[in-house]
Symmetry: C2
Subunit: 205 residues, 2 copies
């Protein structure tokens, strides 16, 4: 088990989650964007989405996010593993229907993806708000599974083998932005994207 | 819908999948490594795993892999999206219990993560094989969802807005290997890892 701070860190680092729920007797794992605001994780999609309609009705759900951090290469095949962080939240969702609440959730999605983007792009109109379904899952029953660090067979008999062992970290980052081929001329890369792709602040490492 | 070649490409590019199944009345989405061999996707874990025991008994399952390729920044918040590739396989799993079949599946896992690693590391002994549960899901009912390319509001009225639009690609790669702090001296980085982290063959792009 992990504390809420660790759980929130994993939730905030993940772009997408997988929602498990039953459609009739068939379990489904459906990927979707997610955004946490304090004690709630939001997902959204088309108001016509079958998955969102099932979940809005209160069906039991499991929301899982998983980040893969690297490969763990041990001396034995058996001890090979991956370093990862995963959070699972159980419960049931409810619809977010108040106009201001919907706008706040959509702002959270947009700002999570690209901080500063909300103020740059055209914000949702009434028609778009109606076409968007937003669901909320309270973080009440949440757990984390985390594996980090080197392989664990150094002190076992396998530690005597002359086999290289260690971790191969997986790195995720942004590549160069690709402007829409139909972008009007004279529109520069916005501050939000410039900031996102800027070399990481070394004080963070 | 997509053809099998597209589905296989997504399955092979993904390190992990999420398995959706019901544990009693509670749907769960559980992350795990996966490896495809021809028409079957394998998952594995501890023989003591509750999830694997439920699935080995033939419970209905959904195996989903999702790769996030980038952010799609449109002129309007509403048209913001992500580029992604996701495959969903429905069905039920069966245990792989024959010794040679288990070894072949474990080799597929290892070679998928780090090609060449199977021959470098100590291979599983009988005790380890017994402790490992391997499940197989035939690729019979599979579908893919894929979004790629630029935002789609250039030709709508929003196309006239002076808002930057385009795609911010997400890049995933390997960082420098971290040797086990307890690695015996004089064991060089193996050929498998050297090959994996070598600059990409430009003929692939």
């Amino acid at each position: 088990m992990y504390d809420r701070a660790s759980i929130d860190e994993v939730l905030d680092a993940a772009l997408i989650c997988h929602l498990a729920f039953a459609d009739g007797g068939q379990p489904l794992a459906v990927p979707t964007l997610c955004a946490r605001v304090v004690d709630i994780v939001y997902v959204h999609g088309s108001a016509a989405s079958r998955a969102l309609r099932i979940l809005r009705a209160g069906a039991p759900v499991c929301l899982t996010v998983t980040l893969v951090d690297g490969l763990v290469l041990a001396r034995s095949v058996f001890e090979h593993s991956i370093n990862y962080r995963s959070v699972m939240i159980l419960g049931s969702m409810h619809g977010v229907d108040d106009r201001d609440d919907k706008l706040a959730a959509l702002k959270a999605f947009t700002e999570k993806l690209v901080p500063g983007r909300w103020a740059e792009a055209r914000q949702p109109n009434s028609q778009e708000l109606v076409a968007t379904s937003i669901l909320a899952l309270p973080i009440t029953e949440a757990s984390a599974k985390i594996r980090s660090g080197p392989p664990e067979d150094a002190d076992a008999p396998d530690g005597a083998l002359r086999v290289w062992a260690g971790v191969l970290p997986l790195h995720t980052g942004w590549a160069s932005p690709i402007p829409d081929p139909k972008l009007r001329s004279g529109i520069p890369l916005p501050a939000s994207v410039q900031q996102l792709i800027a070399p990481e602040d070394t004080s963070r490492t």
